[in-house]
């Protein structure tokens, strides 16, 4: 029995401690910083602002509930085996922050370092995996091209038959791959931010953004008008819609991304396994459920409906890898919205509006970037200087023709 739970058993009444701003709290007339979007990113920025920069007159506004967008809809994959130097460096720092996050918060995000295995079924994929492995290793990320024998050791129950349509020929093993309780990340950040004076206002929709002379001065919400020193936009799934309120056109198209979860079964799969060939990835949660996801839907849409076609495709693909899962039962299928940029990399930093900061374009890679993005964006907001690690991701890159193309490292791995 861990020590931390003793107090709950030994007190007569539950020592409830409200983690966030009370719902009844009125909006202030003015905040130094207004953050639009109370997902992992928005709350993370608020947390680092309050804890490390002493900026606490901050409001995090969300039209829905805390962490209700990409944060709760993603499949909780943490990894840094990207392709570009900029991407790998950025996500590598993120993984490091994840590893210490429970202690940082005093709130267990249940990070489990289980590794990630991506499967190659043809020569072209081996070539791209070797490229990723070489770049990763060069930058200190644990990533290697593995053969069939090693794959069998890593995941003994994987279907390694050669008598199938697409036999597994090799894999990319990423020992740093991990998972965590995704909701807890947003809760931990929000709790830590609120403890330090930040206000979290849920069910508070920003309807308009007032820009005067190239600077943002206030936002209008369904609960009234709020003046602000600056605004950070962190609204995955709706980046281009919110950006346009500030007069900023973002090179983003939004696509649904679906996933599904089975009932709980006794543990039989430790690492995260994905196959770009079959557009599927799956892992077993600590509750025993299999979480299964794949590629984005083929056309842009803001609806978060599920489709039968995607369920069929994910199920068929899962059984190609693990035929014995045929009896496993899907319990729930859902969707989130992914903001896709032309180069599959995010948009972070300055915008054409002077004091309006962008944290956008998070496609399928937002969750795993939560801590590093929050930390660096907070530094930008507090100091006005763009931290080096996120400089390559500024919106300007599209105007300068300097994209950071991660297309090769994002398909069906998330």
């Amino acid at each position: 029995m861990p020590f931390g739970l003793l107090k709950y058993g030994l007190t007569k009444t539950y020592p409830a401690k409200h983690h966030f701003t009370q719902a009844a709290t009125e909006l202030k007339k003015r905040y130094d910083v207004v953050i639009i979007g109370a997902g992992g990113h928005g709350t993370s920025i608020a947390y680092y602002l309050a804890k490390y920069h002493g900026v606490t007159n901050v409001a995090v506004l969300d039209k829905g509930y805390l962490g209700g967008g990409g944060t709760t809809r993603n499949t909780a994959v943490i990894r840094s085996n990207y392709l570009t130097e900029e991407g790998v460096t950025f996500y590598r720092e993120s993984v490091k922050l994840f590893q210490d996050m429970s202690n940082e918060f005093g709130f267990n995000i249940m990070m489990e370092n289980r590794g990630q295995l991506t499967l190659a079924h043809n020569d072209a994929t081996i070539r791209s995996f070797r490229w990723r492995a070489e770049v990763n290793q060069h930058l200190g990320v644990r990533s290697e091209l593995v053969d069939r024998k090693t794959i069998k050791e890593l995941v003994p129950n994987l279907n390694m038959s050669e008598d199938v349509r697409y036999p597994i020929v090799a894999g990319l093993w990423h020992a740093d791959g991990a998972t965590a309780r995704h909701d807890a990340v947003a809760w931990g950040y929000a709790r830590g931010a609120c403890e330090r004076g930040v206000e979290l206002h849920q069910l508070t929709e920003v309807q308009d953004i007032e820009v005067t002379g190239g600077s943002v001065t206030a936002v209008t919400t369904n609960r009234g008008h709020v003046e602000c020193g600056c605004v950070v936009q962190a609204v995955a799934g709706h980046s281009s819609l919110v950006g346009i309120k500030a007069g900023i056109r973002l090179p983003i198209h939004s696509y649904p991304l679906q996933a599904m979860v089975t009932q709980a079964y006794k543990p039989l799969l430790t690492p995260h396994v994905s196959s770009p060939q079959f557009h599927v990835y799956l892992h077993q949660t600590s509750r025993g459920e299999f979480v299964i996801g794949g590629g984005s839907d083929p056309y842009p849409l803001y609806s978060t409906r599920a489709t039968l076609e995607q369920r069929e495709s994910l199920a068929a693909a899962s059984l190609e890898l693990f035929p014995f899962l045929s009896q496993v039962r899907v319990m729930r299928q859902w969707a989130g919205t992914t903001d896709m940029t032309p180069d599959y990399s995010p948009v972070m930093g300055l915008s054409p509006v002077e004091n309006y900061y962008l944290d956008a374009g998070w496609g399928t890679w937002g969750f795993k970037a939560t801590p590093i993005c929050g930390k660096t964006m907070a530094e930008l907001v507090a100091t006005g200087r763009v931290p080096e690690i996120i400089q390559p991701f500024e919106l300007e890159r599209f105007y300068r023709f300097e994209q950071i193309n991660e297309a090769g490292a994002t398909a069906a791995s998330h």
């Binding site: 267990n108 020569d123 060069h138 009932q263 079964y265 006794k266 039989l268 600590s286 035929p323 009896q327």
Partner: protein
């Protein structure tokens, strides 16, 4: 041994009493009857304990008898998490409990419950992480305890498949509402599908009591089923579950091992309602069940649900259940009516007339287990003082059965998936459904209509509306809405907190009142946060029995209305669905060229290229290197033949064909003469090279364009997309699968062809390099293109797909005297590399623009437009960061770099090797790599980080490595 709880016929509608079934549970033999579910067969044998709960390992038994809870999840040898109250028992079935340690009856893990005070809501967020590193140990421990059933990893998948169906009207649910709706829809002459998840039609008519005599339901059932069965326009599917509602009435139905995908013009969802439990201490003990579960046990399965019963009444249905229990010989000890001043109906009055004790205004404050068996032993009933608060002293009533008739919630899942909205009616204390999409209606108790006459009227109306919308005959529709004359079936607050807790809100996840309230107290006020923090509704039953109580508790704790509190989103599937059902038969098609079997006969090793199989090389695997070298050498010295059928072919025809190609590809095609081919490079709007091929001008208004194997579908799609905007006068057709082709290459290629081509002048003057001709080869209609991908005199020959084998055979026969031999993709890779030709996708990546890959010559800057032109112009102004160059490794002892090894400048990554092969012609490794622009001149040296980190020096040379003056391809 006779089953102790079995009732005589006519009880047991589903049973075939002549057909006994022997099976085992937990290694003990039991006898059931055909038609039994696992749970009913065990209950008939007085075996009630079926499972252990997820967290506290509490004993659990039948709750709903309708598959709406996780209490009856059991393990079959190759099938975990099976609903015992839905799964029919079959001969020799071996059933086990799951999620216990030791035995189901004495589960050592039940000890965890002793520590439940130390495990508050979200306890795992609050501990286990200090000191650093300790979580890994806890995570392993917690993980071991996680999960329910065990997946049989040696299980060979069974055969599952799919079928498409189309109907005018699909009616989901074949209770009285569904049957009436189907009948009235069919009146209009449309085709109707009526389906139900149960094995027989009838729904609640099969078990509910509509009148004192118990006759009405039976009579109505008989008549309606006869009408349905006699109606040729109604197809009936029983044992069939509609497992979701997708846009435009796209319904997945599951029956047996088949997924039916049904498109309906109209749907009528008569999906009924789910009975809800009351929340009080120990409300999960075996012996406590929904009143409808007791009725199902008796009427469907002939199982007496207990010997001494207490009925908890929140509505008059409880009295019908009491009558049923009395009829079945159960001693009804008390009816505890939650209502202060109940409005009795005829059935209730008749119960009272039979001198059954009724206590009004009381609640079951706590249930108490029999200390020996753990089964329900007695209930502690107390007077309700105010909402949820009971008086201090109670009365203990001994019983082994408690039936809860505490209210219902509509089966909202499919309806919400269809876009319906769940509201809460405070007067009725019930969820209601509004805002249905067009072409989708609901009828029956799901709408909150309870009296049978109103249900029939409402369903008939829905059926007629749907029938009129789709059928040939228009029926009269009464504008009068049927009146719902039933009393309320729900109470606002059947929730009774107890100081010692264990009043379960969510049985799946062992969540008590305090867990929900404490989640709110911790700040998780939004229902979605309550769900995620407490896990309420996240278990196998997905909130079927917990959503209403959770919403009520959260609403009260946050001072909100229940309507605005709501429930968690109703996501598909409706019932947990095997992966095998949505997977169906494995369907990953393979594409094979017309010459595929010739390659196999010649001993080719095949490789995957997208959906295609292509010959890698000819010969056994162990002689791979030699095979490739000899194929290369034969092309250089004699003549070789390679199958290029997988290449894409696109016909572009029309007055604007030239203009269209000019806009799509980077080169200039306007002045291209008829009978000539031109290299065609494709970039996207970001200036990235995405495909290449050759464009052959067959006629002034007709081009035939080739594309790469992997790229053709994308190229074709993007051509269509662009022309949807441009509206040029062109027809675009992807003819890739209509044609197949070969490339015959080598110094003797012409001599081979001369023997087979009587109608084409093959002389160098008449048919020069990059010429295109139409003619015949071996009597087959063919297009010939003089190309030089491998750097020798060569002809691509394209013929109709089914002539492939004939062409292949003819060329090999005619070429035998010139030592012709087939070569594979591996040899082709070496040959083209020696010639310095890039492969799009291998030597290019998502950022490669034409100048980087030395393709500037293929870009026409004079054209006003092509896709990517503006970007390329901008990129050309910028300083290049890398460039694709040719290199050779001169050190014979250096390891040959692999493709994707990095090119370093000091420790900085500046590029990578994209192609590298040993060149038999040059007798050294040659390759292509991206290198820093300062190192692109011939004679420069670059450093490659090879296997194991070894730095390998490489010398930059001019491309091509082979035949720099291009003499050989122009022979």
């Amino acid at each position: 041994m006779p089953s102790t709880n079995r009732l005589p016929a006519p009880y047991g509608l589903l049973l075939d009493r002549d057909n006994p079934i022997a099976f085992s549970f937990e290694n003990k033999r039991y006898q059931g009857i055909a038609g039994d579910s696992i749970a009913s067969a065990l209950a008939a044998n007085d075996r009630w304990l079926l499972s252990r709960s997820f967290k506290y390992h509490r004993p659990r038994s039948i709750l709903t008898m309708a598959g709406q809870d996780a209490n009856t999840l059991v393990q079959l040898p190759a099938d975990p998490n099976v609903l015992a109250d839905r799964e029919p028992v079959v001969t020799d079935m071996e059933v086990r409990g799951q999620n216990y340690s030791g035995s189901l009856d004495r589960d050592r893990d039940a000890l965890i419950e002793r520590f439940s005070k130390f495990l508050p809501v979200g306890f795992y967020y609050k501990a286990f992480f200090r000191p650093r590193g300790i979580w890994e140990m806890w995570a392993r421990l917690i993980r071991q305890k996680a999960g329910l059933g065990v997946v049989d990893q040696s299980h060979e998948p069974d055969y599952f498949d799919k079928q498409y169906l189309f109907y005018d009207v699909v009616v989901v649910g074949a209770g009285p509402a569904g049957m009436e709706a189907a009948l009235r829809a069919a009146d209009s002459g449309c085709e109707v599908l009526l389906l139900d998840e149960n094995p027989v039609l009838g729904g609640s008519l099969n078990y509910a009591r509509l009148d004192v005599e118990g006759q009405r339901a039976r009579n109505l059932r008989t008549t309606m089923i006869a009408d349905v069965e006699a109606n040729s326009r109604i197809d009936v599917m029983v044992d069939t579950v509609c497992n979701g509602w997708f846009a435009d009435n796209w319904l997945p139905l599951i029956r047996g091992r088949r997924l039916y995908k049904v498109r309906a013009r109209e749907t009528i969802l008569c999906v009924g309602s789910m009975e809800q439990h009351a929340v009080f201490r120990n409300n999960d003990l075996p012996g406590i069940m929904m009143s409808s579960a007791a009725q199902r046990l008796m009427h469907l399965y002939a199982v007496r649900p207990g010997r001494a019963a207490v009925v908890l009444a929140g509505n008059n249905d409880a009295y019908g259940v009491a009558l049923d229990l009395l009829d079945a010989g159960v001693d009804v000890k008390r009816i505890v009516d939650l209502r202060e001043d109940p409005h009795y109906d005829d059935i209730a009055r008749s119960v009272i007339a039979r001198n059954i004790a009724v206590t009004d205004g009381h609640a079951v404050y706590a249930a108490l287990p029999d200390p020996k068996t753990g089964h329900l032993g007695s209930v502690d009933i107390r007077k309700i003082v105010s909402d949820g608060v009971c008086g201090g002293k109670g009365e203990i009533i001994e019983c082994d059965l408690l039936c809860m008739a505490a209210g219902y919630t509509p089966t909202y899942q499919l309806i919400c998936q269809a876009g319906g909205q769940l509201d809460y009616d405070d007067d009725k204390s019930s969820f209601t459904l509004t805002k249905l999409p067009v072409s989708c209606q609901i009828a029956g108790s799901v709408t909150g209509t309870w009296s049978i006459d109103s249900v029939i009227a409402e369903a008939g109306h829905a059926g007629t509306v749907a029938g009129n919308a789709t059928g040939a005959v228009q029926q009269h529709i009464s504008l009068e809405q049927p009146e719902n004359d039933a009393d309320n079936v729900n109470l606002p607050w059947p929730i009774f907190p107890h100081p010692d807790g264990k009043e379960f809100v969510d049985f799946d996840e062992d969540l008590q009142i305090a867990d929900i309230l404490n989640a709110v107290g911790d700040g998780y006020e939004h229902l979605q946060l309550v769900k995620r923090y407490s896990t309420s509704g996240m278990g196998p039953s997905q909130g079927r029995h917990s959503a209403l109580a959770t919403a009520r508790l959260v609403a009260r704790a946050t001072n909100k209305t229940i309507a605005s509190t709501g429930v968690s989103t109703a996501r598909p599937p409706f019932v947990a669905e095997r992966l095998a059902h949505s997977a169906g038969r494995s369907f990953y098609p393979a594409r094979r060229s017309n010459m595929h079997y010739r390659h196999l006969e010649a001993g080719a090793q095949m490789l995957h290229a997208g959906a295609w199989y292509r010959p890698a090389y000819y010969g056994p695997k162990e002689s791979r290197v030699d095979a490739i070298r000899s194929e290369v050498s034969n092309v250089r010295n004699n003549v070789g033949l390679v199958d290029v059928s997988t290449l894409g072919g696109i016909e572009v025809r029309g007055a604007d064909a030239g203009e269209f190609l000019n806009r799509i590809y980077t080169f200039n095609f306007a002045k291209q003469p008829v009978g000539r081919a031109r290299y065609a490079l494709l970039t996207n709007e970001a200036g990235t090279v995405i495909d290449d091929g050759v464009a052959c001008r067959i006629h002034e208004h007709h081009y035939y364009v080739t594309a790469t194997t992997g790229g053709v579908d994308r190229v074709y799609q993007s051509m269509l997309k662009w022309n949807a905007q441009w509206r040029l006068d062109v027809d675009i057709a992807n003819v890739s699968s209509a044609l197949c082709g070969v490339n015959i290459a080598g110094p003797k290629a012409r001599r081979v062809l001369e023997a087979l081509c009587p109608d084409v002048d093959l002389s160098a003057a008449a048919f020069p390099y990059m010429g295109v001709r139409e003619g015949s080869v071996a009597g087959l209609p063919a297009r010939l293109i003089r190309v030089g991908f491998v750097g020798e005199l060569g002809y691509e020959i394209h013929v109709p797909q089914h002539f492939g084998e004939a062409l292949w055979d003819a060329l090999l026969t005619a070429g035998s005297e010139h030592k012709i031999a087939p070569f594979g993709i591996e040899a082709q890779r070496v040959l083209r590399l020696e010639k310095g030709h890039i492969i799009i996708g291998q030597d290019t990546d998502a950022m490669s623009h034409p100048m980087e890959v030395q393709m500037g010559w293929a870009v026409s800057h004079k054209k006003p437009f092509f896709v990517g032109k503006r970007t390329i112009a901008e990129l050309e102004k910028k300083q290049q960061k890398r460039r694709l160059v040719g290199f050779v490794i001169n050190d014979p002892n250096a390891p040959i770099p692999l493709e994707s090894h990095l090119v370093l400048d000091g420790e900085e990554m500046v590029g990578r090797v994209t192609s590298c092969e040993y060149s038999p012609t040059l007798d050294k490794p040659v390759g292509l790599a991206y290198a820093q622009p300062s190192k692109t001149e011939s004679g420069s040296k670059i450093v490659i980080k090879s296997t194991g980190g070894t730095r390998v020096p490489a010398d930059i040379v001019d491309l091509p490595f082979y035949d720099p003056d291009n003499r050989r391809q122009q022979l």
